[in-house]
Amino acid sequence: MFPYIVRRVFVMAFMLTILSIITFLLFNAVPTDPAMLTCGKTCTPDIVAANRIRLGLDQPLYVQYAEWIKGIFVGRTYGSGSATFECSTPCLGYSFRNGEEVTTMIVDALPVTLYLALGAFILWMLIGISAGIVAAKNHGKWQDRTIMGVSLIGYSLPVFFVGLLLLVFVVVRWNLLPYPDYESPFDDPVAFFQTMLLPWITLAILYAAYYARLTRSQMLETMGEDYIRTARAKGLSERVVFRKHAFRAGLTPIVTSAGLDLAGLLGGAVITEYIFSLPGLGRLAIGAVTEYDLPTITATVLVAAVFVIVSNLVVDILYAAIDPRVRLT
């Protein structure tokens, strides 16, 4: 098991390197001149040129890349002389649009997205997997048909539709909850839960529907395996057959899916954050894109990609923990 993890970590480090290069090139591929963007209203070619030097944009690409990476690990200093300012570790760049370090913006937005994604994740895994199991156990009966029917609806409804619907009815019409206004759970737990409840439900409806279907089909497939017949031939009760022999085997694809879905959300649940005015990574990214805030765009892309890669590692390790055959390869 240990060599397997070490190997996966090495692969992950390699992928992160490739990824940072691609993200960096993306920054440079955008057809706008960052020096121009930072110039302000009274712009002269002199100022643009000075900005270019100040931002290090006059350097060759690989030097810029090295500076950027250096910034992440040890921080960096922009400009020289009186116009110098420090960007502390981990420095993901400086947003001239907001006059703020990108790292600070990310650090502010990250917990919001984290709470949103994790809350929804727990909710949908609980609902989805249990509904899927109930459906599989009652294959072909009314429970199965009901769950599959409902999940098909849940799966078909787009997030913006469900989100708006919940907002309009629960908040505006029925006044069951106050209008969403994000508060940190440490400052005001009640307001936090009141704000997060609807976003959690919105995301959970979509994903729970998908996981119910996935769990059901996995369990049905696994229950048809030869080793399940063996387990029954041993005289094990249906309960043990299902819980010990079938569920663990059916779990692997669910774990893979769950890891990737969670990672996707951690990169920013753009639509949900927008509808419920949550100041998370998704909103940060969209805001940055509309304002041509290049350092922020690069940073959000990098953060989202890091989540995907790290969760891939976690999935790989979980996979090996569940399936002994994976450990050898």
Binding site: T230, H245, D323, R325
Partner: protein, 337 residues
């Protein structure tokens, strides 16, 4: 008498209609003896045994007839009672041991589990019984193997593990569903030897499901030939090889390669097995039977022959008269003539 099956029928309701997988099959197995059920894929040989084990449970299945295990009726019995017999008094091994063993649990865990389902013993005791049984079936360095997973063993070793797991509680009946089909030829012989030895030691009755007549000759005392869900011939093993009475059995025998044979080609049975959805009205084998023209009045196409006694302990279904059969066998050199 360990097992007595009387008029067993198994039906499955599907979207396409009712599948008659097993029709009026009867047989008996005595303590320490081996009955081979022979037939091609879809002949109902596996389904009939799964039904005996109580493993045909789908809501679309219907089982009628009688199955007496040690005098207890199992058809219609409380599933919980049958479950308690499974793995304890009657056990089963399957064709492909790689897919039949759970990929995620170690050999030791799977065997210990088999002990603990039926015996209230501690994990350590269950594991020591498992180790003992694994040694008995010829697994080398048992202590190490116990902590390995099925995929780490060879095919032959896996089937030995399956056999150990089936016999660990000393069952009186073992149903072996094509136990050697998925194995190398050299390993097949080892597994058959092992089964024979264990049978002698434990006095287990074996129902051996196979399509390999070599395996039948090696292990069986009695043979039940199945075709299209029905028993078509039933006889002691010597009679099946020396005095076969049914054209399907003749076909099976003619399909065995023989070193002494002068001709280079085998005689396959023409055509394919019947669909169990639309059974022919007459004899199930009639559409493929080369000799049906010798029976007067289209009887083969219209009437399913009864399973009639040919001699003591020997029954066959066929409209051909005894003299016709003898003539055909003499001409074609089938059996001992």
């Amino acid at each position: 008498m360990i097992l007595e099956v009387k008029n067993l029928n198994v039906e499955f309701t599907t979207d396409d209609g009712i599948v008659h997988a097993v029709n009026n099959v009867s047989y008996k197995v005595e303590r320490g003896k081996t009955l081979a059920i022979v037939g091609e894929s879809g002949s109902g040989k596996s389904v009939s045994s799964l039904a005996v084990m109580g493993l045909v449970t789908g809501s679309n299945s219907k089982i009628t007839g009688e199955v007496f295990f040690n005098g207890r009726e199992l058809v219609g019995a409380d599933p919980e009672e049958v479950r308690k017999l499974r793995g304890d008094e009657m056990a089963m091994i399957f064709q492909d041991p790689l897919s039949a063993l759970h990929p995620y649990y170690t050999i030791g865990d799977q065997l210990a589990e088999a002990v603990q389902v039926h015996h209230n013993v501690k994990e350590a005791e269950a594991r020591s019984r498992a180790a003992e049984m694994l040694t008995k079936v010829g697994i080398p360095s048992v202590e190490q193997r116990m902590d390995e997973y099925p995929h780490q063993l060879s095919g032959g070793m896996r089937q030995r593990v399956m056999i150990a797991m089936a016999l660990i509680n000393g069952p009186e009946l073992l149903i072996a569903d094509e136990p050697t089909t998925a194995l190398d030829v050299t390993v097949q012989a080892q597994i058959l030897d092992l089964l024979r030895e264990l049978q002698k030691e434990f006095g287990t009755a074996i129902v051996l499901i196979t399509h390999d007549l070599g395996v039948v000759a090696d292990l069986a005392d009695e043979v039940l030939v199945m075709y299209g869900g029905s028993a078509v011939e039933h006889a002691p093993v010597r009679e099946i090889f020396y005095e076969p009475q049914m054209p399907y059995t003749w076909g099976l025998l003619a399909s065995i390669p023989q070193i002494s044979a002068k001709k280079a080609q085998l005689d396959p049975i023409p055509g394919s097995p019947p669909s169990l959805l639309n059974m022919p009205k007459g004899c199930v084998f009639a559409p493929r039977c080369t000799f049906k023209d010798q029976v007067p009045g289209d009887a083969c196409a219209n009437e399913f022959p009864d399973l009639l006694a040919v001699s003591k302990d020997h029954e066959a279904r066929c409209h051909l008269t005894e003299s016709q059969r003898t003539a055909i066998r003499t001409e074609r050199k089938i059996g001992r003539v």
